[in-house]
């Protein structure tokens, strides 16, 4: 049941399999789907596109995974993206310094996380309600910053974050992969990961064991805010402007979905960042495939929903229990939420 009991590959088998099926299906339908080529010192191709376009959801999913592991949820990350994008754009247009813009955007992201964390950990408000406040208010705040317009900028350093490339790899890809790697190191090379899981499974017992649950909870929401700030800055840099209305719109839901597809239970506890990253890529593969298929965009959401239902059914512990006599090995990859104490 736990991550140690099985071969490492087996744990992510459902996610990897799903990703391969989606990519394989697209490759068979659209010749050239798997082609990758270099032009103007930058990699191009559908696979690169998936990695690139998936950056915001992947970044949000990092923070979301940790928040969900504490038995919480953060609905505000999409709105925080909009706020931070607006802050970055506003700063860069007034000061002309990309460094200042990014620093301020990240600081604002942390502040948003602090707000959520304090509401949850100190005021004891249910996470879904606590973060709903900023989800609703955040977009308004972003609009106040951009003064209702799409605030555009041309600062090349900032734009580089969204559409540049380093060693022919688009920058957003480098950023999210680095962020994910750093986050994995942070939680697994320190005791943070285990303490987060402990809080998520039984906060009271953790507190009674001397775990500083309150401060840890606040930190986790701040990490989520920071991730949203990075995602927001990239999204703004990509379109060379801050769109308070549409930046990060509904992305919190994609991030939650990525976490769930990745194999982390919404009931908190055991989490997997790698799984969430795979989840984010599955979602983006579906998005990209539908986009290049030429289906009218209206189909996009419906097809996406169908594919996601399929993925979740494959992972459903209840369904798996029914199939158990036939496929014993499959039970290994799932989180251990169903173990009744």
């Amino acid at each position: 049941m736990t991550r140690q009991t099985s071969l490492p590959g087996l744990r992510y088998a459902p996610q990897i399999l799903t990703l391969l099926v989606v990519l394989g299906l697209s490759a068979s339908l659209f010749p050239g789907f798997l082609n990758v080529e270099i032009a103007n010192g930058r990699l191009y191709g559908s696979l690169i596109d998936i990695l690139n376009r998936g950056a915001p959801v992947a970044l949000l999913a990092i923070g979301m995974t940790l928040v969900i592991a504490t038995k919480g949820i953060d609905l505000s990350v999409g709105a925080v993206m909009a706020i931070c994008g607006a802050v970055a754009a506003a700063t860069v247009t007034t000061t002309g310094s990309a460094l200042q813009a990014v620093a301020l955007a990240l600081a604002v992201g942390l502040a948003c996380g602090l707000w959520n964390g304090v509401l949850v950990a100190v005021a004891g408000i249910q996470p879904i309600i606590a973060t709903l406040i900023l989800m609703v208010a955040g977009r308004g705040i972003a609009q106040l910053i951009t003064e209702g317009t799409i605030l555009t900028f041309t600062n090349e350093s900032l734009v580089f974050l969204g559409s540049g490339a380093l060693l022919s790899m688009p920058t957003p890809i480098l950023i999210w992969i680095t962020a994910a790697a750093l986050a994995m190191l942070l939680v697994r090379r320190t005791a943070l990961g285990m303490l987060i899981e402990a809080i998520g499974i039984n906060r009271r017992a953790s507190t009674l064991s001397g775990v500083n649950s309150g401060i840890l909870l606040v930190c986790v929401y701040m990490i989520a805010g920071l991730c949203a700030a990075v995602a927001g800055t990239i999204a703004a840099a990509d379109i060379k402007g801050a769109d308070a209305n549409n930046a990060g719109l509904w992305l919190e839901l994609d991030a939650i979905l990525a976490v769930v597809i990745g194999g982390t239970s919404l009931l908190g506890g055991r989490f997997t960042l790698l799984g969430s990253m795979l989840g984010a890529m599955i979602i983006q593969s579906v998005n990209t495939s539908i986009l290049i298929s030429g289906f009218p965009p209206e189909f996009n959401l419906v097809i996406k929903a169908l594919i996601i239902i399929l993925i979740l059914l494959i992972q459903s512990p209840a369904l798996r229990a029914r199939l158990k006599p036939v496929r014993r090995k499959q039970g290994q990859g799932e989180t251990s939420i169903l173990v009744k104490p």
């Binding site: 140690q4 009991t5 005791a191 285990m194 899981e197 499974i201 507190t207 009674l208 775990v211 104490p341």
Partner: protein, 519 residues
């Protein structure tokens, strides 16, 4: 009609029983909650049901009211057999229940609560005027004259209780079960409630009264039935029953056996390591003085809800003290949170290990190292090798039965979970360890091991505070026993004074046996 008189034969069969439970048996997986219990309730009688936690009181109530199905036995109401399938069904038969937490809707009016689901209608719509009129009339029977159009939530808990009773009696009308009705009431409100109970008694209802407050039981009840470990200990008329006798029945002590010699005759004379002066928290435990010596085991005895756990929770900073001060050696310390207590070298094995102890989905290893890791801080992870070594050490030392240290702790048996939580604290090398009911719900073998361990830890110089309902056990390892009653530390027994008889005496509040502390 078969009676099982344990203490004295009773002539309870004077009038025919209103509600008669015959050989009621209820088994849960792994435990027999009720074992062949007979229960007789007569009309116009207030029948108190007593017993410690887990004795089977609530299970019996749930069997009588259709929440649980019987595994054996039968229920007769007015002489005919019934088999209630739900609380609704029991209500239709005439058995109503009012719980400690009022099960009504605070945001509806009093009248709406009274007639919820059966509102009088006129031309298909609710006839509010008639409903309010009926409600006022109904409450007037209880001498309660209030505005029934106000929200229920705007009235005190006592009034809400009475309204709940009025509704239950109006719906059922033969048997009323009051489950801890006075737990959150003050003395005046208890009067108010008892007036209502007497009124109903005079009307010929049979009333089952469950309470932990012995004073109230003696005041209101006509008959007392005591349950222990799912079995009926006995049924006696309240009149003529001594408090001591009752406490002995509840705790399962035979009065004769209590002169047994005690194991630790010599009081611990080590240096005082922890001292608490005037330590207390309003509403939980009255200020107490407590000095704990190095290597001393202090036992805390008292009935459930008397302030045992509250004492521990205050010491450990779970409900931080609002008066007094705590000293370790000669330095004053503050204990506002569990974490601050852990940093001072305290440990706490809670009574309810499922809720407060284990992190069910984490492995045994992670559960064992959790407190040590919290103590070191998240930036200094305990290397995996060291974690394994610590876990293996305690799995072996405490004989935790498991195939694998990576197994989720939720899959272990109760006794093994308890040992793992103990291991969690031992790994931090605490100076002061609080154990709340360390042997509850674990098998005999594990039981003996934990007692042996407590003695070993004392020998190693650790100070212990042990809360237990098992008085015999307490007298074996305690250097001192503190007795709590009504949220107060009322007596302290040392050395030769420690006998189960003396402890039972002190719990019952008999003056001469134990030296009462001046309050």
């Amino acid at each position: 009609m078969v009676q099982t008189p344990t203490h004295r034969a009773q002539s309870l069969e004077a009038s025919a029983p209103l509600l008669h439970g015959l050989g009621i048996t209820k088994a849960f997986p792994g435990a027999l909650a009720l074992d062949n219990v007979d229960f007789v309730l007569k009309a116009g009688e207030v029948h108190a049901l007593l017993g410690e936690n887990g004795a089977g009181k609530s299970t019996l109530i749930k069997c009588l009211t259709g929440v649980h199905r019987l595994d054996g036995g039968s229920i007769l109401l007015d002489g005919s057999a019934i088999a209630p399938r739900s609380t609704q069904d029991a209500q239709d038969h005439g058995i109503g229940t009012v719980y400690q937490e009022v099960n009504l809707l605070p945001n509806l009016t009093v009248a709406e609560n009274l007639y919820l689901g059966r509102q009088p209608t006129r031309f298909g719509v609710v006839d509010s005027r008639k409903m309010n009129r009926d409600a006022s009339a109904l409450l007037a029977q209880y001498d309660l004259h209030i505005d029934v159009t106000e929200d229920l939530g705007s009235y005190s808990v006592a009034i809400q209780q009475i309204i709940a009773i009025a509704r239950a009696v109006d719906l059922s009308g033969k048997v009323l079960i009051l489950d801890e009705p006075t737990a959150s009431l003050d003395a005046h409100e208890v009067r108010l409630l008892f007036d209502v109970v007497r009124r109903l008694k005079a009307r010929g209802l049979g009333i089952v009264f469950i309470s932990h407050f012995l004073d109230q039981v003696f005041e209101i009840s006509d008959t007392i039935t005591v349950l222990r470990n799912g079995q009926k200990v006995g049924t006696c008329p309240t009149e003529g029953l001594g408090r001591l006798e009752l406490v002995a029945m509840m705790l399962g002590r035979e009065l004769e056996e209590e002169t047994r010699e005690h194991g630790k005759v010599h009081a611990n004379t080590g240096p005082v390591q922890f001292s608490f002066k005037g330590f207390g928290r309003k509403g939980r435990i009255e200020p107490f003085d407590l000095e704990i010596r190095k290597g001393e085991a202090i036992g805390i005895a008292g009935l459930l809800g008397s302030g045992r756990t509250e004492t521990a929770e205050t010491l450990f900073g779970i409900h931080a003290a609002d008066s007094g001060k705590a000293m370790i050696g000669t330095t004053e310390v503050s204990l506002p949170t569990p974490r601050s207590a852990v940093l001072e070298g305290f440990g706490f094995c809670p009574e309810d290990r499922k809720v407060d102890g284990i992190i069910a989905d984490l492995s045994i290893r992670e559960n064992i190292i959790l407190a040590l890791q919290a103590l070191r801080g998240w930036t200094k992870p305990i290397p995996r090798k060291e974690q394994n070594a610590i876990a293996d050490k305690y799995i072996k030392a405490l004989d935790i039965r498991t195939t694998d240290r990576e197994k989720p702790i939720g899959q272990l048996s109760g006794g093994n979970q308890q040992k793992a939580i103990l291991a969690r604290w031992l790994a931090t090398h605490p100076r002061f360890l609080i154990l709340d009911e360390p042997t509850r719900g674990i098998d005999v073998g594990a039981h003996a091991e934990i007692i042996r361990l407590i003695e070993e830890l004392c020998d190693q110089g650790m100070s212990l505070l042990v809360i237990s309902s098992e008085l015999e056990e307490l007298t074996v390892y305690s250097h001192r026993i503190i007795v709590v009653r009504d949220r107060k530390h009322v007596a302290e027994l040392t050395g030769k004074e420690i006998t189960t008889a003396a402890v039972v005496d002190a719990i019952a509040g008999n003056q001469p046996a134990a030296q009462e502390r001046a309050q």
